[in-house]
């Protein structure tokens, strides 16, 4: 008997009515103003604007001029529990997720100790049952200690609730070891998610190899260091029929390799991160350590290829790779700094401002890609449908806000978008039937009788 894949802290079921919001749910095929009634944590009714009856004791939320989306699902976050709670923990990380409109997140295993055994998985799930503001799934390691040499007890981990497996932060360097994991997946199931990096090519690189790294005298990590591994592992996935997901694709060659693999019928999928969709290695010129992540920011050609891949469906979802680090860890010279940027609280607004408003991507496509992570992780896809659990976020697309140097729900402040003016503010998030986030200045217009 397998454990549920997502866990969260107990929270009261929401009963509320969102009045006259523009409901946009590509999964349910809705794109029009409606009233949405949530009763006892479920979507009870979707009615023409202004016509829904207000259940007893319901809050009435004014959605006029605002958009109501299905809650977003992030298949790739770092919650840092256990062992690195000075960066983030399950409570602060899921608070950040809720503030970003997310109704579920999947946590990576590169913690201290590494999440690579069922007792550890049970322990973090118990903690999530106490602290998680939105449902959390866990993806334990493929190899013990992320060491790349011994498989974890994948079956026991699956029984204990593992979503899938990943050595994220590190590649599975040995093709033979990865093939073992893919064969064992036939027994236990669960997607295998891969951080693709050939360490003999990345070789200590701290940014993309190119004109900017040449100028700065920084060791470069070339694009082929990622794409050759995508091609290698796609070939293994095709041969084994193994469900495989490529994390945070950053290089145009990787997008081409993924497209070729999908054309050949390999059961592979991919994700793109907001920072790779919006920034290039030019952002590293000032040696701001918030611009240091793995994989690195690459060139405009790479950025355009990742956008095109997201648009044409080669890349099926947006994942933040939310990677919090404490200020003192990032306040060091670039080469010394840890890799990663936070992302949960800025993902929607950054992509909306940078790609939807200029007309590069449609709002509908972005909302779909922000929820598709659920399907790729074998989780139910949030949908605004009568009878479905309420997973919603209410967004004011016209609201502008400045990404701050501080003041996040996350414990860490290392956002690569700090200082930018963004459009699109999440006002309310309902996750698995409970209100998980309410924007502080957001006042209810009336309270139901």
């Amino acid at each position: 008997m397998a454990a549920p894949r997502l866990v969260r802290a107990p929270a009261p079921d929401a009963t509320l009515v969102v009045r006259r919001a523009h409901v946009l749910d590509p999964n349910a095929g809705i794109d029009a103003p409606h009233d949405v009634v949530v009763r006892g944590g479920e979507i009870a009714e979707i009615a023409p604007p202004g016509e829904a009856a207000v259940p007893e004791g319901a809050e009435v939320v004014d959605g006029e001029g605002r958009h109501l989306f299905p809650g977003f699902v992030d298949p790739h976050v770092h919650l840092r529990t256990p062992g690195q709670e000075h960066k983030e923990d399950i409570e602060t990380g899921t608070r950040a997720a809720a503030a970003g409109g997310y109704c579920a997140v999947v946590a990576m295993p590169n913690t201290d100790p590494v999440l690579d055994s069922a007792p550890l998985l049970n322990a973090v799930r118990e903690q999530a049952e106490r602290d998680a503001r939105v449902p959390v799934g866990f993806m334990p390691a493929i190899t013990r200690g992320l060491g790349g040499t011994e498989l974890t007890e994948m079956q026991e981990l699956r029984d204990a609730g593992a979503i899938g497996f990943t050595d994220d932060g590190k590649p599975v360097t040995s093709a033979g070891m990865l093939r073992r994991a893919m064969r064992y997946q036939k027994l236990c199931g669960g997607v295998i998610a891969l951080h693709e990096e050939d360490p003999t090519l990345s070789a200590g690189g701290v940014m993309h190899e190119g004109a900017i790294s040449a100028r700065l005298g920084l060791a470069g990590y070339p694009s082929v260091g990622e794409s050759t591994m995508v091609a290698r592992d796609a070939a293994l996935a095709l041969d084994e029929g193994a469900r495989t997901h490529f994390q945070h694709l950053s290089a145009w060659q990787s997008v081409e390799a993924l497209a070729a693999a999908r054309a050949s019928g390999a059961p592979v999928s991919g994700e793109a991160s907001p920072h790779h969709l919006l920034l290039t290695d030019e952002a590293v010129l000032g040696l701001d350590t918030r611009m240091k992540m793995n994989p690195p920011l690459r060139t405009e050609r790479d950025r355009q290829a990742v956008i095109a891949g997201l648009r044409d469906g080669t890349i099926e979802c947006i994942a933040t790779d939310h990677a919090p680090h404490a200020a003192f860890e990032k306040d060091v010279p670039f080469e010394d700094a840890p890799m990663g940027t936070t992302g949960l609280e800025t993902a929607f607004a950054a992509v909306y401002t940078g790609l939807v408003r200029p007309g590069v991507l449609t709002l509908e496509l972005v909302v779909e890609r922000l929820t598709a992570g659920a399907r790729l992780m074998d989780l139910p896809v949030p949908a605004i449908r009568t009878g479905a659990p309420a997973n919603l976020c209410l967004v004011d697309l016209e609201a502008t806000w400045q990404v701050g140097e501080s003041g996040y729900e996350s414990r860490s402040e290392n956002s690569c978008f700090a200082g930018r003016e963004l459009n699109g503010r999440v006002l309310l998030t309902v996750a698995a039937g409970a209100v998980a986030y309410r924007e502080r200045s957001f006042a209810l217009s009336e309270v139901g009788r």
Binding site: L218, V332, P333, E335, D336
Partner: protein
């Protein structure tokens, strides 16, 4: 003049020429019997070296002392850095001593720029990782202009391990700013991809070296052999060593030091009349005097004190 000297790109051509002119006047004065000038009397200069250095550290020290500044040297080894103190904490501690300038050498790119955000002192980058070494570039330009006059239209070849060289990066920028045409040359494994974006040409052989007015050789470190950047020292020497056969009689030969005799340079060319390697070392003192002067004394003369105190925020 900017408040700090972090990158050679902080200076335009006028800024470089102004420092060279100042260095030139110091060079004239250095012939006098009493070399000290009172300019920086009572002001503190901290030399903070996170990497070993002989000539850069000592020339900054001599430069500051010649201007009558009080100089204190901090080396990372034997200090609180070895006890795990962060760069930021070290800088905030040292800033409490109210230095007028901090001269910093650090193994990582951007360290000097970070330091400049953490201290009210003027910061001079004395080498940050493989990124930049702006005072080396200034002394190289100073040495060359004394030998050749204007650098406009001069062809300068930089030969060797460009990948790992902060000197190469600062020199490419400084030489091109002064109107020269720069070509970098070395084994393809030691020429970073994309370096041409700095405005230089790239060659992998010395076949066209005869076109150069100046041959600037870089130090070839033995560990590059271990990491297979080049297959052997023998093959590197065969392809890239500047010797009497390759160096033309009218070409100027430069090297930032210390020289590996018999590797990047043959012994005979080091001592040849074309070599200005000793002149580079001499220029190091007057150019660093000029940098300290412009940052600490020159700026004061050009920035008037505000007539009234600024508003006090509640």
């Amino acid at each position: 003049m900017p408040r700090h000297l972090l990158s050679i790109a902080d200076l335009d051509r006028d800024g470089i020429e102004r420092i060279l002119a100042r260095a030139g006047s110091f060079a004239e004065a250095s012939g006098r019997e009493i070399k000290k000038l009172p300019t920086l009397r009572g002001r503190r200069v901290l030399n903070l070296f996170y990497e070993n250095s002989t000539r850069t550290r000592s020339s900054f020290e001599i430069a500051a002392k010649t201007l009558s500044a009080d100089v204190t040297n901090f080396a990372a080894s034997g200090s609180s850095v070895e006890k795990g103190e962060s760069l930021k904490d070290t800088i905030q501690t040292l800033s409490a001593y109210d230095p007028a300038a901090i001269v910093i050498r650090h193994p990582h790119a951007g360290a000097a720029a970070m330091v400049s955000r953490w201290t009210p002192a003027a910061v001079v980058n004395a080498g940050d990782g493989k990124h930049e070494h702006p005072t080396q570039a200034l002394l190289d330009v100073f040495t060359l202009t004394r030998r050749l006059g204007s650098l406009d239209g001069k062809r300068i070849w930089i030969v060797g391990d460009v990948e790992h060289s902060r000197v190469a990066r600062s020199d490419i920028l400084a030489f091109t700013t002064m109107g020269a045409h720069v070509t970098v040359c070395g084994p393809p494994t030691l020429i970073p991809r994309g370096i041409e974006a700095l405005g230089c040409d790239v060659r992998f052989t010395l076949d066209e070296l005869r076109d150069a007015d100046v041959v600037y050789t870089l130090r070839m470190q033995k560990e590059r052999m271990r990491d297979s950047y080049v297959p052997s020292l023998r093959e590197y020497v065969a392809n890239y060593q500047i010797d009497g056969r390759r160096l033309g009689p009218r070409q100027v030969l430069m090297h930032p030091g210390p020289v590996n005799r018999g590797v990047e340079l043959s012994g005979d060319v080091v001592d040849s009349p074309q070599a200005v390697i000793t002149a580079q070392v001499e220029a190091g003192v007057v150019v660093r005097m000029a940098v300290l002067y412009e940052l600490l004394a020159g700026a004061r003369a050009t920035t008037p004190e505000p007539a009234t105190p600024g508003p006090v925020l509640a």
